[in-house]
Amino acid sequence: MARPAGLNLDGKYPSYVDRGLEKAVMDTAESPLARLALGLSVGPARGRTPGLDRVVCYHCGESCSDDTFCRVEKVFCCQGCLVVHELLAENGLEQFYSLSQHPGVRVRPARSRERWTYLDEEKLQRQLLDFTDGNSSRITLLIPAIHCVACVWLLENLFRLHPGVGKTQVNFPRREVSISFAPARIKLSELIALLASIGYDPQLTLGELTRTPKTSTRQRQWLQVGIAGFAFGNIMLFSLPAYLGLDSLSGPLFRALFGYLSLGLAIPVVVYSASDYWRSSWLSIRQRVLTLDVPITLGLAALYAQSAWEILSRHGEGYLDSLAGLVFFLLCGRVFQQKTQDRIVFDRDYKSFFPLAVTRKKGLGEEHVAISNLQVGDRLLLRNGELIPADARLVSGQALIDYSFVTGEADPVTKHAGDYLYAGGQQVGATVEVETLKPVSQSYLTSLWGHEAFQKKHGEHLNTLTNEYSRRFTRIVVVVAAAAALFWIFRGDTARGLKAFASVLIVACPCALALAAPFTLGTAQRLLARLQIFLKNALVLERLAQVDAIVFDKTGTLTSAQNNTVQFHPAQSTRGALSTLECRWVRLLTCHSLHPHSTRISGYIKDEAETSAGLPVPTTTSFPLDEIQRFTETPGRGISGRVEGHELLLGSKAWLEQSGVLVPDLPPISGSVSGLAIDGEFRGFFVFANALRPETERLVRALGQTHELALLSGDNERERGQFERLFGLNSRLHFNQTPTDKLSFVQALQESGKTVMMVGDGLNDAGALKQSDVGVAVVEQVGAFSPASDLIVAAGQVPRLADILAFARTSVRVVHWSFAISGLYNLVGISIAAAGVLSPIICAILMPLSSITVVLFACGATSLAARRSGLSANRRSPTPLDFSPS
C-alpha cells in the first residue's frame, strides 16, 4: 500500500487549532516558503516522507491541510469522508477501519441522484444488467477505487446500508463487483448513487455496454484440463499391471477389462479435451500452413488408432496412458500461458473513454441522456473536466479545451462562440454550452478507429517461432515414418512396417516442442507482470526480440504530468524574489482559477509550504473568496484580481503588455511561461517545463546504441532543443503530429523494413500503437484506461524498456535451446520407433520425461535470465494488496 503511513490518531492535532498563528509564521522569512520566494528552483514535492506534523484523514488517509473536520478525536479531510464514516458507524460497519490503515476512498463532492437517472431507462438497463427477472436483478460494475481488503469487506456488506441490496461479490483482481438488488426497492440509479456516496464510483463508460464476459472460455479450459487429468490418472492405474509384469497373474479377463476401460476413458480426452487442437489444425490445413497443432493431432490420431487396434485385437495394451498424459501436459501448458492478469484489458477503444451519458439542455431545465440517444443538434452542457462526445459547435461564451488526450498537445486551447470543437476534448473551467454537429460514431476521434490499421489482423498465430520449427519438424517426421514403413515392407515384414509407421508418428508427437514456447514465454510473462509490465500474450515477447526501431511519443511517455516542474524566475531589474506575503497573494489569486497553469502554480506554492516543517499553508479556507476583489479570468490570456489592496496580473506576455505593464525581453527557455505583475510592476515569470521522467536520459542513451530511435509529439516545437540534446542532432524528431501522421510515420518505417515498437500513452497514439509491430502503452495507473496495445507498462517502469528488450531476446534464445533438447529426445524416440521395437512402456517413460525436462529447463532458464537482466521479481514481491491505485 503506497499510502502515507498513518499517524497515531489519538493525539491532539494542531493544524485546525493553530490557524491564529498562521500570520505570524507567514511573516518569518526563515521558512522554505521564503526560499521559494527567493526564486530558488525547487522540484516538485515527490517522495517526501510524511512529516510528524502532518494530519491524515481517518477515513481516506489523505493529508488534511486544507479544511479539517473532526469528530471525537478523529480527523477528516472533508465533509464527504466524515459523512461516510458516520454512515458506516450508524450501520455497525466500523470494523472497516480495523482492516487496513485509512482504507477509505476520498469522496468527491456529493452529486445528486439525478445524475444517474438515465440509467433507469429500460433499453440501457437491458445492456447493463447481467440478469433480471423483475423481482431481482444483478449487475457487474467496474470500480477502479477498490484497492484493499477493507474495500472488499465493505462492498460485500453493502446490504447493511440498504435493504434493497442483496448479495454482493467482489472480484478483486478485476476490480469488479457484482451486486444483486431488488429493482422494486432500489432503482439502479439509486444503487449507483449509494456506491458513489461511499466513494466507490463505478466506471460507466460507453465501453461497458459492449463488455463481454470471458468466463465461458476460461471455464472450458479448466474443464478440459480436469477431464484430461482424470483420464490420465485412471488409465495409468489400469496400465500399471502391464508395466509391472502382473499380466500373467491377473489373467486375460482383467487384461481385456483394463483395455476396454482405458479405451472408454480416453474417448472424452480425444473428443472434448483435445477438441481445440483438432479445430485449429483443421483451420491451419485449410490455410495451407503447418502449425504445431498438425503433428500433435496426427500423433493423437495415430495413438488412439494403434491403441484401439491393439486392445480390440488383444495384441497388447495400447498407448492410452501416453495419450491422456500428452493431452494433459499440453493443456497444462496452455493454462500456464494464458492465466495472465485478467484485470488488464488490452483492446480498449475510444468507447472506454467516453461517458455513458451527458447533460442535455431541455427547455429551461437539463437532463442526463445516454450517449447512444444523442442526436445531431442537441444542446449539451459541458462542465469542468467533461468530455465533448461528438464534434460540436460552441454556442456561447469562451471555452478552454484540453485536447491532451487526443492530440498530445500539452496546453489547453481557447475557443470562441461559433468555433468547431472536435470530439474528445475536455472543457477546463466554467460550464459551456455546445451544439452537436455530427453523430458520435462519425466524429473526428471515432473516425480514427475506422482506419484500415484497425481492420487488419496481425497474422499472429501463423508466424511464430514454434510454427517455424514445426513446419520443418512435421515434414521430417512424415518422411521418416514413411521411410521406416517402406524399409520394413520391402524386407517383407509388413506388420512391423505398419507398426513402425504408427510408432514414429506416436513418439514424434511434439509434446516437448509444444511445451517449450508456452512455458518459456509464460514464465517471462509472469515475471514481467510482477514488475507491472503486462504482455497481451506470450507471442508479443517473440516480436519484442525482433524490434529494431523504437518510436516514442513525448507527452505522457517520456515526460509526465506528475513530473512537471514550475520555476519562478524573478525579473532582474526590480526587487528580485517574491516575498512570502507576495507568494500568498499569488496563491490566493491562482486558487480561484481552474486553468492548469494556475493549479500548478498554486500547487507549487502549497507543496513547498507543506514540505517545510509545519508551515501553515495559505488555503482557500484561510483566505475566503471575499478577500479577493475584482477577480477576472480572460481565457487564453491570464487572470487578474485585487488582494489586500494590491493589483495582481498573471498571464501571457502580450496580455501583460496590453494591460500597461512594462515587460522586459524574456531569456530563451523551453517550456511555456506566465508573467507576473504586482501593482503594475513586472516581477518575474513562472516557467512550466514538461519534465522528463527520471532516468529517461539513461534509457534513450542505452536504446540509441542498439536501436533506431524517433520521437513523435502532438505538441508544438518549443521543446525541440531539449530533445535534440537527448536524442542527438541527427535523430528524427517530429512535432505537431496528428494521430494519423503518427500512424503513417510508423507505417513508413515498417515499409523500410524495420520492426517498429511504438511507445505511447494516449488516444492520439492509438493508431500508431495499432499499426506498430509492438505497441507499448504507458499507464500512470495499472488498470486505468489505456489505448489498445500489445504491452502495458506502468509509468515507473519505462526506464526499464532496454532491460525488457534484452530479456525478450534472451527468452527467445531459451525457447531455441528448449527446442534443441526436445529434438534430442525425439531423435532417440524416433530411432527406436523406426526400428519397429517401440513398446508402450518406453513411450510412457520417454514422453513425460522429455516434457518435464523441457518444462523445467524453460522455467529455470527464463527466471535466471530475468535475474541477469535485473528484472528479477525479488526486488519487489507483490501481495494481492499491492494493486493499490494510490
Partner: protein, 63 residues
C-alpha cells in the same frame, strides 16, 4: 481375484465423484477468481450476522 472387480468399481466411482465435484466447482465459478477469497477469509465476522436478503439470492450459474 474377483475382489479386484469391486475395487476397480470403487476406485472408478470415487474418481468420478471427484471429477463431478471438480466440474461443479468450475461451473459454479469458483475458478473465476482465486484471489479475492483469500482476502475475504482475513476479515473476522464481528458484525452481528444479518444475512443478505435471501429473497434476492442470485441465480447460481448464469453463464
Amino acid at each position: 481375484m474377483s475382489v479386484i472387480l469391486i475395487l476397480i468399481l470403487a476406485s472408478l466411482g470415487l474418481a468420478t465423484a471427484f471429477l463431478a465435484g471438480f466440474i461443479w466447482a468450475v461451473k459454479s465459478g469458483q475458478f473465476e477468481d482465486t484471489c479475492t477469497p483469500s482476502m475475504r477469509i482475513l476479515t473476522d465476522e464481528t458484525v452481528p450476522p444479518t444475512k443478505p436478503n435471501t429473497a434476492l439470492k442470485p441465480i447460481k450459474n448464469l453463464n
